[in-house]
Symmetry: C2
Subunit: 363 residues, 2 copies
């Protein structure tokens, strides 16, 4: 329980930590950080409140950015469109929200709600709907627990707005994706309006404070000349999967997604081995020499070998030296209902999910 | 001035006449007729009121179907989704509408508003936004006179709803088209909410009663064993352009449109000559032996040689014997502002528009 004030200083840590949890997606941390800092400087610090402190009958509306991160890099929101999307849901529902919340962890989608909270003068709930990033709207813990994603509102930087009401969260994904593509492959969104009671039942708790702690650990390790990657593995109860050089990135932006394959050739203790990672905005499956070593819903992140900086999908480049780590996902994703929505088979891989701890124990 | 009651009997005439004005688009008359008759039988006859009888400060909301007519044939609306779309605009605007109005002439889009009016218990204004059919949302007289197309609502037969607010009617077309495609290539729509004063300033007047008269003339000619095509030419102040057999139909349904080319080989007095007609839902340009003889915004319609029945784009078949007629468009389309939106150059043809009367005079 309790609350803290998020300051501009926290944004650096949040962006670093959330990008590690973003598993390649969730947006660019640099733009996300700048937007949040600007909003805090203009409107004052943001109250980060505990899930337990949200009154049961109050309304909470998540805020996020949707689209291909490759496009978001070049199409920076003007700042007012998220407030517009938030107000549109409030108007539609005929009631005011008491707080906003993050939909997913990621460099952009963890900081975007901070900026929104500052501008709206509302507290931000310390939680999210994934505990990581996922590419599609229905892939949220809120959805697993039966919360409708609509009314949902999308706005673009030009001033267009689309409000959706759908029969299922899969249809929301379909219609929202079409709208996002038509808006130029990125949009600001508000969706999954929930009561405080629903947030308590559904949200992945503490994601923001966890991401800030993670970012703090990275900065601390760097300052002490310790190995940031080791600290990240420790903080996330994760595993080093591979160390290698990026030798190929197959990339295509289709239907509003950044899809592709990353190929790495081993270096140091991994010399002579290869790794391939498939992604759809987020990293989905990692194979070493053809064998699956980690898969969704567990987290797969590429870190710069020296600095521990997470490499986002849009930042992948030939020649980067990266340590690939695997991290256990939030428990909701390991349930049958969770795996149905975000397991490897949903993404088209003929792979049974096994928790990363089990895969590593039998390695 | 004045009003009349539209009965189920009128629907047969309306469907016939409006399909002639639909220039290949505007939807299938059979389904449109059935839907309207069913609604009238269930909810009672519809009052068709004159434009002048709409109070200046009352709200009028057009109702229509959007998408590829080829798809509409197989995806029949369940009837309630148009009422839902209508109520959604009313709720959004916080006021009730006093009437509905047709957006375009066509077998479906002239009768759909009759069904909507019956179900809503509202009068239908005797006018439309085109005096014909056009493939895109911004191609309405309302738009030429500066009425925003949004708030616009799209609904599908599954129960999904999308509400749009845009910065321009071109953006409305873009976003609504994407939503329509995502909904399965057809949707029920409400858009261009207007005051009575705006309807008076912008609408193409009398389109429904004109279509009914036209349908009546066709039925009369058939009953008297006279030539229905001659009656249509007379009623529409139109011209016979060609008589031929359809020898080829190139057809592709792309981006929510039915596009293609119709090739005809001359018969009877046109023997030895050929005609090609390009269409995008509606017939756009007719060329005889390579020379343009008619183009948008004037109306180009294929009629069955014997019955005078208009052939819609989705009904085009090899071997049909058709008389192609050209008809002058509503005066709004011949203004510079009108031609900018629906002239041949907008559709990508390197052709200067000339009124069909002038083309025929110099033929």
């Amino acid at each position: 329980m309790g609350e803290r004030l998020l300051t501009a200083d926290d944004m650096e840590k949040l962006a670093i930590g959330a990008t590690i949890l973003g598993t390649g997606g969730g947006g660019d941390p640099y733009i996300g950080k700048l937007m949040a800092i600007q909003a805090i400087e203009e409107y004052g610090p943001v109250r980060l409140i505990d899930v337990e402190d949200v009154p049961d009958d109050e309304l909470v509306i998540p805020t996020a950015m949707m689209g291909a991160p490759t496009v978001m890099l070049e199409k920076i929101p003007n700042g007012s469109e998220l407030v517009k999307a938030f107000r549109a849901i409030e108007d539609f529902m005929g009631r005011k929200a008491a707080a906003t919340i993050s939909a997913e962890a990621g460099g952009l989608n963890s900081t975007v709600p901070v900026g929104a909270a500052a501008k709206l003068g509302l507290p931000l709930v310390d939680a999210d709907g994934m505990g990581r990033a996922f590419p599609e709207i229905q892939m949220a813990s809120f959805s697993v627990y039966g919360v409708p994603a609509t009314p949902m509102v999308l706005t673009d930087e030009k001033g267009n707005l689309s409000l959706l009401q759908t029969i299922s969260n899969l249809w929301t994904e379909k219609l929202a994706r079409a709208a996002t593509v038509a808006m130029g492959c990125s949009a600001m969104i508000t969706l999954y309006p929930m009561t405080g009671a629903q947030v308590k039942a559904c949200a992945v708790r503490g994601t923001l404070s966890y991401a800030i702690r993670l970012g703090e650990a990275v900065l601390e390790a760097r300052a002490r000349k310790e190995d940031p990657v080791a600290r990240i593995v420790e903080e996330t109860r994760g595993f080093r999967l591979f160390k290698g050089k990026i030798v190929d990135v197959l990339r295509r932006t289709t239907a509003g997604f950044a899809r592709g394959t990353i190929k790495l050739e081993g270096i140091d203790d991994c010399k002579g081995r290869t790794m391939e990672i498939e992604f759809q905005n987020e990293n989905l499956v990692a194979k070493e020499d053809g064998q699956v070593v980690a898969s969704v819903p567990d987290l797969i992140t590429l870190l710069e070998v020296e600095t521990g900086t997470a490499i986002t999908t849009e930042g992948l480049k030939y020649g980067y030296r990266a340590t690939v780590i695997g991290m256990p996902c939030a428990s909701v994703w390991r349930t049958p209902a969770g795996l149905k929505v975000v397991g490897p088979r949903y993404f088209g891989y003929d792979v049974d999910y096994a928790p990363i701890e089990e895969r590593m124990a039998t390695r």
